[in-house]
Amino acid sequence: MADARAADQPTIVIEPQRTAARVVIPIGADPELVTVSMLLSLARERGVEVGSKGEEVLRRLSERFRAERAPLNEVFAEATPPRHGIDSSIEWQPGFDPSHAGEAAGPSDPSSGRIDFYARTSFIRVHREDHVATILPATEGLDGRDVCGRTLAASAGKPLTIEVDASLARLDDGRVIAQLDGQLSFDGRRIVVNPVLDVQGTVDFSTGNIAFEGDVVIRHDIRDRFRVRATKSVTVEGLVDASHIECGGDLTARRGVAGRAEGTIEVGGSAHIGYLDEVSGHIGKDLLCAREIMRCHLFVGGNLVSDLGAIIGGCVTVAGDVRVADLGSGGDTPTELRLTKEPDIDSPEGKAAAEVRALHAQVATMEKELATLRSSATARTPTAAERMTELEFEIADMQARLKALGFTDPAVEEAGLAGLCTSTLTVSRMVHARVTLRLGHHLIVFNDPVKGPIRIWLEGTRDAMYQLGEGTPRSLRDMPGVMDRAAA
């Protein structure tokens, strides 16, 4: 009987982990006894913390039981779960996420659907003061409580173990700001801005063209048709193919440059190069070449030194001294060396000279195209005729511009500049036949080879002089097999 009465009593059930508490009112319970105070007492006996909201639930349940006389099994109290802390994280600003480097191809042409893969970039370029990322701090979390009022501990977020290099500043609000121009890198642990762009592999479609304000180091090669531009130095540890290199500082290409008539270099400083083959360009200061300079069209603003090498074919213009082992080749390759003092590139004369050079180069290219068109079988087609007219006009236009600059003939230009020549040519082994040397106003043609060591320079009287070994200096006009047109 006592058991039967107990079974008819309301009971409080606590869920595992004390996440909730429910009241169970059997149908046989005495409605007069099922009051809110009785239910509250039962809950408190079981250790349940009942707040005003829970009390309200119990009140409602007791009233409902009395009204409906139906069994009830309802939750009246719930635990407050803990809110765990959030781990610290890094939020990259748009365009600075290193994990996305190289994903973007170059500009595309919507009309043709073409994408310039040469212009894709594989590294993240940053400038000083760029906001590259924000480090979001870890949060502490908020403890919870179970239905019995016991604390449910929240775990704190884990701090981020990222090291921010001195090349970036981490502000109190978490912003990470670049402190210098360079390449942004992040290896998962450390954020760095490297003022040197270090290309670990080859410059090809995986990297795209390189344009960098600073120094560039390329660990392997530069492939055909790619461009590397840097405001400071460029160092290439591998081979440079028919590509374009432009740098404000020095260029180092120890293995060499195989230009295949399309390679160009524009170097503000000096160049240290293994060999040069069919390359054109301009070197502001010295050129130090370990081996041959073959079929190149170059201007060197300083000295040219190739103690073990040779200048073979092409046309090389040097403002300073030249020291080479061989000039020309045993195969009698026509080779031209011009020793001339060019005006400072930044002076009005220098700018004019640069423009003249560029115009001459353009005229030469167009004349070549025109000659090809004239000799081709398609010369009479409307398209060819149209292009030929365009070329005729372009050439005439450029010649008019050259005339306006006061230069109609490259030889006249060279003569004007060459008059300032104070350079010395030293050849240790041999000057070969079919070498042409422009020295001041002198045009010296070597019809026969001359064994070195030989030194050639302009005397104060503007006579072209030579000295064989430690011999007596003599006038070049006295050397057999050599024609000095100015002297003649």
């Binding site: 009479r380 087609t381 409307p382 005729a385 149209e386 030929m388 007219t389 365009e390 070329l391 005729e392 006009f393 372009e394 005439a396 236009d397 008019a400």
Partner: protein, 124 residues
Amino acid sequence: MRVMLVDDSKTIRRIQRSILEQIGYTEIDEACDGQDALSRVVAFQPSLILLDWNMPNMDGLTFLKTFRQRDKATPVIMVTTEAEKTRVIEAIRAGVNNYVVKPFTPDTLQQRIKETLAKVGAPQ
């Protein structure tokens, strides 16, 4: 003296303009094909037209035939190629005053312009 250049090649128009300026013609308008030229001639009222033969949209001959229906006086120099030279007679029938065969030099063009203007008695 107002000159209209009708040529689809921007390069040729640019340099023709430069030659005309050198010989003292400064009022110059440009059209990139026959259709473009037709839309401009009324407003520009050229004294001379240099007309390319091969152009997209409307070629030189079609332009000339349409233009001559409303203007029989303005001299037109046709620019043609050696391959099209045999068709010059057609152009002359359509009202062209002179022609110059591509490829040509700036000097040749200058000479043709002077010749044509002298022929029609226009002021040079």
